[in-house]
């Protein structure tokens, strides 16, 4: 935003929401005033299901605008051009995406006033320029046409003024009775302003109740540190400083908090350039096969409910090997003793340079024990520090349970729910929906008219974080401002504004509320400091100081012994979804269609079980079962996963929504319906009954094995040292000669890419970054099941080893930009050709859609528009499109372009500056998003470019090079670093 905009002086209310509002087109007016966008009511029709999913939802029919072949576009010049906005030149502003008690620092690309692309902020420690799938997809959430658009009192539409006057009446009452009968149900946050308002609230209404609830959170982590250190502290991990890492059910690379910085650190510790470099070693003990498990050098699969026993056994082993650990634990003897011994010795050998972490699902006692182990190993202060989350509202599910008793006894007459969706995701035994009806005044601030909003008296639309003035702190305490990129599209108010209204009874703008907090925070000249914070996206050096800690063995012992004994029956592990998280992203088509990192399933959640358990229960993938736990049952499909722990069922939360919107409604199965407050993470004693019915699942990759083909090449570190060129020697083939004189690519910029399979964790941030950057449509479950997904970069997943103790590898595959491209030769109309910079370019306008190129592509990376997938894209979703990239019409082929629009942008810039394009000027979207920097793009004709240096490494190989296609994209072989004592056989396989 320009400075004027930041100050809110110049533009103020004249912000426009879209080009169409400027245009005042009847379509847009109608859109604003219909409660359900046109088409929403037609969605349930199965015949139309394809059409509506083909886009992100159904249609806003653009009567008279939709031409037969090409959309007719209206363009409007500015009457008064805004300052600093040059049409066609994007602007980047820093902001922050709050996420529970954490936050992600962002840099947002804006085109003519509308945000289109999210990147990590390189200055911000939470992302360091990288991103994850949730960050990437949140841009689509901004433009979700299903977002709530008006304030509702029951079913009547109200104005903000109505609501304010309603609240003032209540406020006057609570001001006099100290808040008796008032309750707040908030999501967790970590924000100076929210914390200030919360403190004011508690001071002003001492009799009121404040509950912080999250269905999925780090509350056990805080509770664990409370047990160990006597204070709820936030651990801040530095994975880059750890040489030996042990994860106990902790998917720190994907579904845990702060997975971007964790991936950054892990990737740094993993990176090697020669066979003589050393790399970290990751041990993972878990039930479900997580992405972290797939990156492991050693993985032990045990039930999640046995992990406390494992942690105890490890503590005992560490003590046996001489670590002074003030806890009394016993080794139950049920775990591989050699494995334990080696792990313990490895941890001990790397004192101060190791790290043990436990997953959010594990009970607090395990976190306490882990904290004690880390402390004893000397890791505290090195690979992990503890900070006091001073401005955070720490989640506590117990508080909700306590509030329920207050509600049932009639002690609450007014409940304000800030965000969240408790009717959907509160523990099933609490019957939160029923309880709401007993409260006189219920208010829900929410982005959607969701399950909770429909059950309350007052619903107030909430702004998206990209429309909000706010502030936040990341886990380490780094403070930053949430700066809006656009005026609220659908009206709405932020939680800052509503909480301020609740506390003060005054209707103030978020901008003023936040500035008020920061006036007290910023040192020196406020205006100067404020602008710097906005510019940088953070307040430099604002991270919390580490707290010195000392573990209390007695309390840990007590907590451990209070843990229930694990039984041997079936357990159900409630995992957070890597697609829709806890359900908050359920209406996000990009995430819904993102293949699950392990199963590659889209548009569904399944009960994952091991092969042995499936066999034992007589189940195969896709069978519908009745899953019963704690007296509650649910029908859902099972899916067997190699490497899953036996007698354990992993189910993912967040699906089965009923009021999510056109994308998320009735997709998958609602696990909250069987999740109770006493067994919210791991429930034991489950039963599965086969129903003799099958369920249709859209799986994007159902083949497990690499069939012995040298596609992903990997070796153990020791074998790599013995045979550094193993990757290049894996395939024997005749000399790669061409029949013709080949085109010379010796001059100018020659683009190429390298993918380091050793760093790649398979998280999929690249897939979504590409989707956002390149306007890639979503196609819906049916089309995915027919193999018509459009992702330009996919993550191939293969299992190796035995199906029981399988290992997993990931391989991002996009267009390899072959110099000798098979696709180019076969196109009859020359719609795919090489440019002089070595790019295999796709000329959409020329393509007639024979699809021959796709047949002849050995990597199958081409994507065909089988339908007009963007035909029904709602007007508002079109605002999320990147104007630098063509939206493809039906009947044409498309594929990865190496972000040719970014190359052009860099070229124009370099020309304007009369210089050559420098290495690093161009970052492709996938490369930019990658949290482990596995992807490198650049000029392979420049001997000093980073990509050239990487390609010179001995792990470099081209997939299917034997076809003489000369791909410009090459891979670096994956190296595993197992402990020599645990290696059973040589890992280098020579393929014929």
């Amino acid at each position: 935003m320009s400075d004027e905009k930041l100050n809110g002086k110049l533009t103020g209310k004249d912000y426009w929401r879209s080009l169409d509002q400027l245009a005042e087109t009847p379509e847009f007016k109608e859109f604003l005033h219909r409660e359900f966008p046109e088409g929403a009511s037609e969605l349930r029709d199965s015949v139309n299901r394809r059409t509506f999913l083909s886009l992100m939802g159904a249609s806003i029919a653009l009567a008279g605008v939709a031409g037969c072949r090409k959309p007719v576009e209206k363009i409007l010049p500015y009457v008064t051009a805004p300052e600093n906005v040059i049409p066609g030149i994007p602007q980047h502003y820093a902001t922050t995406m709050p996420f529970g008690t954490s936050a992600y620092g962002l840099l947002v690309e804006n085109h003519e006033g509308r945000p289109t692309k999210i990147e990590g902020n390189e200055l911000h420690p939470s992302t360091k320029g990288a991103s994850n799938t949730f960050m990437q997809a949140s841009i689509l959430g901004l433009y979700d046409p299903d977002r709530s658009q008006r304030i509702m009192e029951k079913n009547a539409e109200r104005s903000w003024a109505d609501f304010v006057s309603f609240w003032r009446t209540a406020f006057d009452r609570f001001s006099t009775n100290q808040g008796a009968g008032l309750a707040i149900l908030s999501e967790s946050f970590n924000s100076p302003t929210m914390a200030r308002l919360m403190r004011e609230f508690k001071a002003k209404f001492p009799l009121a109740t404040w509950v912080t609830y999250e269905a999925v959170s780090n509350e056990h982590v805080f509770e664990g540190s409370n047990i160990a250190f006597g204070s709820s502290l936030q651990p801040v991990y530095s994975f880059d400083k750890a040489e030996v890492i042990l994860s106990l059910d902790c998917d720190f690379l994907k579904t845990e908090f702060d997975n971007v910085s964790a991936s950054r650190g892990f990737g740094a510790g993993r990176r090697i350039t020669t066979e003589n470099d050393s790399m970290n070693r990751l041990y993972v003990v878990e039930s479900t096969f997580s992405l972290t498990g797939s990156s492991a050098d050693h993985r032990l699969r045990i039930s999640s409910s046995k992990i406390p026993a494992f942690a105890a056994a490890l503590a005992s082993e560490l003590r046996n090997q001489g670590l002074s650990l003030a806890v009394n634990t016993t080794n139950s003897g049920e775990f591989d003793s050699k494995w334990l011994k080696v792990l313990a010795s490895d941890l001990l050998k790397s004192r101060g340079k190791s790290l043990v972490c436990a997953g959010y699902r594990q009970p607090a006692a395990v976190h306490a024990l882990v904290a004690a182990i880390n402390e004893s190993l000397g890791n505290v202060g090195a690979s992990v520090v503890y900070v006091q989350p001073a401005d955070a509202a720490l989640p506590n599910r117990g508080e909700l349970t306590q509030m329920m008793t207050k509600i049932s006894s009639g002690q609450v007459n007014t409940l304000v729910v800030f965000g969240g969706n408790p009717v959907y995701n509160a523990p099933a035994d609490l019957n939160f929906g029923n309880a709401l009806s007993k409260i006189e005044n219920t208010i829900h601030l929410s982005m959607y008219r969701d399950e909770t909003s429909r059950a309350v008296k007052w619903h107030v639309p909430m702004t998206h974080y990209l429309e909000t003035w706010g502030d936040t702190r990341s886990s380490d305490g780094t403070a930053s401002v949430v700066q809006p990129m656009i005026e609220p599209l659908f009206g709405g108010h932020s939680n800052f504004e509503l909480l301020n209204l609740v506390v003060t009874g005054e209707d103030q703008r978020g901008y003023d509320i936040v500035r008020k907090t920061w006036e007290a925070v910023l040192p020196g000249s406020f205006e100067k400091g404020w602008r710097k914070v906005l510019h940088d996206g953070l307040l430099q050096n604002s991270a919390h100081q580490p707290v010195s800690v000392s573990a209390d063995g007695l309390r840990i012992n007590a907590a451990l012994s209070a843990l229930p004994k694990s039984d041997s029956g079936l357990e159900v592990v409630f995992a957070v979804s890597s697609q829709v998280y806890d359900g908050r992203f359920a209406n996000n088509g990009w995430l819904m269609e993102m293949p699950h990192p392990i199963t590659k399933i889209t548009w569904d959640n399944v009960a994952m079980i091991s092969i042995a358990t499936a066999k034992q229960l007589g189940l195969t993938s896709g069978d519908l079962v009745q899953l019963t736990v704690g007296g509650r049952s649910l029908e859902m499909p099972v899916w067997h996963v190699p490497g899953h722990a036996d007698n354990s069922i992993t189910v993912e939360l967040g699906y089965g929504r009923t009021s999510a919107g056109r994308v998320g409604d009735k997709v998958g199965f609602d696990l909250y319906s069987i999740r109770t407050s006493d067994a919210s993470d791991i429930a034991t004693g489950a039963t599965i009954t086969k129903l003799n019915r099958e369920y249709f699942i859209a799986c994007a990759q159902d083949h497990w094995s690499m069939e012995g083909r040298p596609l992903v090449r990997e070796a153990n570190l020791e074998d790599y040292r013995k045979d550094p060129k193993f990757a290049q020697e894996m395939v024997e083939h005749p000399p790669l000669e061409s029949l013709w004189d080949e085109h010379s690519y010796a001059k100018g910029n020659q683009w190429g890419m390298s993918v380091d399979l050793n760093s790649c964790t398979g998280c999929g941030a690249c897939t979504l970054a590409c989707q956002s950057e390149n306007n890639i449509p979503i196609v819906g479950k049916k089309q995915v099941s027919n193999g018509r997904e459009m992702h330009w970069i996919r993550i191939d997943r293969y299992f190796s080893g035995s199906v029981e103790d399988a290992e997993m590898v990931h391989q991002p595959v996009m267009c390899q930009h072959c110099e000798n491209a098979p696709c180019e030769q076969v196109c009859p109309v020359a719609a795919t050709v090489h440019d002089k910079e070595g790019l295999n370019v796709m000329v959409y306008n020329r393509c007639i859609g024979t699809r021959y190129c796709s047949n002849n592509c050995p990597y199958k990376v081409r994507r065909f528009n089988y339908f007009n997938f963007t035909k029904d894209t709602p007007e508002v979703v079109k605002m999320a499109m990147n104007p630098d990239v063509t939206v493809r019409f039906r009947g044409v082929m498309e594929k990865c372009t190496f972000c040719v629009q970014r190359i052009s942008e860099a070229r124009i810039k370099s020309k304007l500056e009369s210089r050559e394009i420098r290495d690093g000027d161009i970052t492709t979207a996938c490369q930019q998003a990658c949290p482990t920097s596995a992807l490198t793009f650049g000029n392979i004709n420049d001997p000093n470019s980073r990509v050239n240096k990487i390609k010179a490494q001995n792990r470099n190989y081209a997939m299917l090079a034997e076809l003489n296609v000369k791909p410009r994209l090459t891979y670096l072989a994956r190296i595993r670093n197992p402990h020599p004592e645990l290696v059973t056989g040589a890992k280098v396989e020579h393929h014929g």
Partner: protein, 482 residues
């Protein structure tokens, strides 16, 4: 036509018809009142054709997505049917051109409708590549037309070769067929009793009056067109096979494809001619013209080409093994034992096993057997193309392996193409002489100038001398006579 006529080598036409009765018999089929059977069949075919038009209309409106094609199976029924129909066409050209050049007189009874079958089959074939492209309205971009971008199509693309090859084939076949029709059209013109028929046949007869110069030019033109068409028989399917053979895919990238495809095409084409001939022969009582002798000869050709196809199947496996290329080896094992094994074994059964029946003279002269076998062969040959296309389901990267299953629209388009074929074929039967009168007369014994002295010179005693029919002057070569 040829200068030297062998003396009664065998009885090609039975029943000892006169020249006039040949004309009468064949012309009558066209001139009689429309038979109820024809109307019913035409109604059925035209309905199926309407279904095709509906399916194609919806396809153009909605997109290729209505079919089952997907990633990785970008080509499926569309190209299966294309190759199938092109293959069907081959027998017609082989019969009319190659057998003509090799002086195989027995071809005269079947060449007309075999050629018609070729043309209609090629029309059906051309339908598929035209509608299977994502943007059919821009199909003309494959042609080297002058354009504002000064852009040539990509001459390296086998699809472009296809367009030239099939286009040339269609043009030559049409010309060849039409030239052959001219004398018969003139006969029909002369026999016409209504004005419309007179004008219509008159226009297409191009003023033919059966004069000596006309015959001379006609025969030369026919010979030249036969000469041009002959290499096309080999080239068209060879080039169609390069769609697959020039790709990099395992199972497609094989040098055996051109001869293998040509053999398969002739195989399936003869089977189709057989199916049609048996039906037409029965309905229009043409047993004297299309004799058991003709049918047996065709069966022998099917046996030979079937063996060639079988050899090719075996050879593919051998080469896959011998190449030591794991992708190639997998592709073939997968064909036989993968998810689509049933298609492979249907193909083997129909194309390799079933034709072996024709080793037995008894079976290859049995009408019921040859009818069933001819249909099975075409089923098998359709599956051959299906098997080849479904190689796409599993290529290099197991991650992108997929499945294919046709949709109702695939089925409607495929069945609909038969509707198109039979509609055209029935129109042909109704309005054009299905047997070349001029050529058949040519092989009648009395066409031989030495016919009356045949008994003196003919050493071949196995052929019984024909009873001497009267020769009507001026009708020997058909045309203007009656």
């Amino acid at each position: 036509m040829s200068a030297k006529v062998e003396h009664h080598p065998e009885t090609l036409i039975q029943g000892n018809p006169k020249f006039s009765s040949v004309t009468q018999h064949i012309s009558q089929i066209v001139e009689d009142k429309t038979k109820m059977g024809w109307i019913l069949l035409f109604g059925l075919s035209a309905s199926i054709l309407m279904m095709l038009l509906g399916a194609v209309g919806y396809l153009l409106f909605e997109g290729i997505g209505i079919w089952g094609n997907n990633q990785p199976v970008s080509w499926a029924f569309d190209i299966v049917n294309f190759v199938f129909w092109v293959g069907i066409g081959h027998a017609g050209t082989l019969i009319s051109a190659i057998l003509f050049l090799f002086r195989q007189k027995w071809r005269t009874s079947i060449n007309r409708f075999a050629e018609a079958m070729t043309i209609f089959a090629v029309i059906c074939a051309l339908l598929f590549p035209s509608i299977h492209v994502g943007r059919a309205w821009l199909l003309y971009w494959v042609m080297p037309l002058p354009n504002q971008m000064a852009m040539w199509p990509n001459f390296r693309s086998p699809l472009l070769w296809d367009m030239f090859a099939v286009g040339t084939y269609f043009t030559c076949s049409l010309l060849f067929w039409y030239v052959g029709l001219i004398p018969d059209l003139a006969t029909l013109r002369d026999r016409a009793t209504t004005k419309i028929r007179k004008i219509a046949y008159g226009i297409f007869a191009l003023g033919w009056h059966g004069g000596n110069t006309q015959w001379k030019h006609y025969e030369l033109a026919y010979l030249i067109l036969a000469g041009i068409s002959t290499p096309l028989v080999l080239s068209v399917h060879s080039i169609v096979s390069t769609d697959f053979a020039t790709s990099v895919l395992p199972g497609w990238h094989t040098t055996i494809f051109p001869p293998y495809f040509v053999a398969g095409a002739i195989f399936s084409g003869f089977a189709m001619v057989m199916t049609l001939a048996l039906i037409a022969r029965k309905i229009y009582k043409l047993e004297n013209y299309i004799t058991l002798n003709h049918l047996e000869k065709m069966n022998k050709i099917m046996l030979v080409t079937g063996m060639m196809v079988g050899y090719s199947y075996g050879c593919e496996f051998f080469v896959a093994w011998y190449s030591s290329n794991p992708y190639e080896q997998f592709a073939f094992i997968n064909r036989a034992f993968g998810p689509y094994w049933w298609a492979y074994w249907t193909m083997i059964t129909c194309n390799v096993v079933v034709p072996q029946l024709f080793w037995s003279k008894k079976l290859r002269t049995n009408l019921a057997v040859m009818f069933v076998v001819s249909i099975l062969i075409n089923v098998g040959m359709w599956f051959e193309r299906f098997v080849i296309l479904l190689t796409l389901t599993r290529d290099f990267l197991p991650s992108s392996w997929g499945w294919y299953w046709p949709t109702i629209w695939d089925g409607m388009t495929m069945v609909g193409s038969f509707g198109l074929f039979f509609t055209l074929f029935l129109l042909f039967l109704r309005f054009l002489p299905m047997i070349s009168m001029a050529e058949v007369k040519n092989v009648l014994p009395q066409a031989d100038p030495h016919y009356h002295v045949a008994d003196d010179h003919n050493a071949d005693k196995s052929v019984k001398p024909h009873p001497k029919p009267g020769i009507e002057p001026g009708t020997a070569m058909g045309g203007a006579g009656l």
